[in-house]
């Protein structure tokens, strides 16, 4: 009887062990020389990812403000919502770049926060918001330049490729974007010089088209 029980238990144990899922794979031993990004540079890029997400939240708040029926500037809202998604795309582009260089193999969970709170949520006018947007872009540009500095000044390793990517893709977009906003501020300002209510109303419709 005892042996029967033992056999039954053994059979159960086998059944249980074969039913258990094999969920994890053991990592392979592989060469690491190809991973050549320096830690200080990686940290700086990671920081920039947070900056881009912060900017995206700021634009989201602008979009929300101009959607309010008491403000009712759908053109401005549309423009700012688009900018919010663009900033998010920048963050994702930087993540993809780090992944391409073999980074972010671990400690991914702390890469971005759960919540970025917008610094401002109301604006007195469309003009005010455009000026804030231009200042925000200028500060992002400066921060990208700081990343470039850290990544090329490293004595052990000048990260030519990242620096080329940042200047060619990111700074290019920053400068073009800044010029666009500056042009808008200028046009809107001239339209509003004599007819401020009408100027903003018409310019909003223009942004919508």
């Amino acid at each position: 009887m005892k042996s029967m029980l033992a056999i039954a238990l053994f059979a159960c144990a086998i059944a249980a062990s074969s039913a258990a899922m094999q969920c994890n794979q053991t990592p392979l031993d592989m060469p690491m020389q190809w991973k050549d990004m320096q830690e200080s540079c990686v940290d700086k890029v990671k920081q920039q990812i947070g900056e881009e997400l912060k900017a995206s939240m700021q634009y989201l708040a602008m979009g929300a403000h101009f959607s309010d029926y008491q403000i009712n500037r759908p053109g401005f809202a549309k423009m700012f919502f688009e900018s919010a998604s663009e900033e998010r795309d920048h963050a994702i582009k930087l993540i993809s770049y780090l992944l391409m260089r073999g980074e972010l193999r671990q400690d991914v969970s702390n890469l971005i926060k759960k919540k970025y709170t917008p610094a401002a949520t109301t604006w007195a006018s469309g003009m005010e918001a455009l000026k804030d947007a231009l200042a925000l872009e200028a500060s992002v540009t400066k921060k990208i330049r700081d990343v470039v500095k850290v990544c090329e000044d490293d004595e052990r390793f000048n990260d030519y490729h990242l620096v080329d990517y940042l200047t060619g893709e990111f700074l290019e977009e920053q400068y073009k974007g800044q010029r666009e906003i500056a042009g808008r501020i200028s046009t809107l300002g001239k339209m509003m010089s004599k007819h401020s209510a009408l100027g903003e109303f018409l310019y909003d419709k223009k942004l919508l088209s």
Binding site: C23, L60, S67, Y69, F81, L111, P118
Partner: protein, 226 residues
């Protein structure tokens, strides 16, 4: 002066005649039309009606939940894109959820404004601390699917809560337009993604119990890429 008095009397007369239908907006506009000072000339023409006040705070929280979840899915997706995991299918699946949450957040903000509300970025849902705040997003494949399923269900639950608040016909919060919006934009799609994820976990559970889980995961990931 006489003309002015006559006009204002006329305005007030029209205002009282219409009062039953457009009580606040019309009266305040009519008053503003005859007022001489700017402060008296305030108009009160809100876009709010129906039961929006009853669900506004939950809608605001729902926006913030969407943003947080979009970040979480982005991190989960990032994990699968590193050279060691190298699972393009999982990356694509999770990135899709991240994009969807982000876009829904924007659409929800627009919806709140459509119904006369204003987004409040400080209104946040309280997550169960142990469950949600100490999560590490570097999981294995089946754990990731399980987590994604739980998140989707949690978000569907939030949508249901908003729906139920707006469906009580006997209180002031009854709002068929909110019901319609939740059903059309959330309910149907959530049912689909929950079913898809539940199906994926069933498949993986069977595959991982087989003799070669590495190969099974490789093939499953290939399937997700399509």
């Amino acid at each position: 002066m006489k003309v002015f008095v006559a006009l204002s009397v006329l305005c007030v007369a029209i205002a009282t005649a219409q009062a039953e239908y457009n009580q606040y907006c019309y009266q305040s506009v009519a008053k503003a039309c005859v007022s001489t000072s700017k402060s008296e000339g305030k108009i009160d023409c809100s876009a709010r009606y129906g039961g929006i006040d009853g669900v506004l705070s939950d809608l605001q929280k729902y926006v913030n939940t969407h943003i947080t979840r979009s970040y979480e899915f982005l991190l989960m997706s990032t994990h699968y894109a590193n050279y060691e995991k190298n699972r393009a299918g999982f990356e694509k699946l999770l990135r899709g959820y991240s994009d969807e949450k982000w876009n829904n957040a924007i659409e929800l903000i627009k919806y709140i404004s459509k119904r006369g509300g204003r987004m409040d970025f400080n209104k946040v849902k309280l997550f169960n601390k142990t469950e949600d705040y100490n999560v590490v997003y570097e999981m294995n494949e089946i754990e990731t699917l399980a987590m994604a399923l739980d998140i989707e269900k949690d978000m569907a639950h939030d949508a249901n809560k908003i729906h139920s608040e707006a469906s009580h016909k006997n209180n002031d919060h009854y709002d068929p337009e909110v019901l319609q919006y939740i059903e059309e934009e959330f309910a149907e799609r959530q049912a689909e993604s929950i079913r898809t994820l539940a199906g994926h976990t069933t498949d993986l559970k069977k595959l991982l119990s087989g003799p070669d889980s590495s190969l099974a995961l490789y093939l499953f990931d290939e399937m997700l890429q399509k």
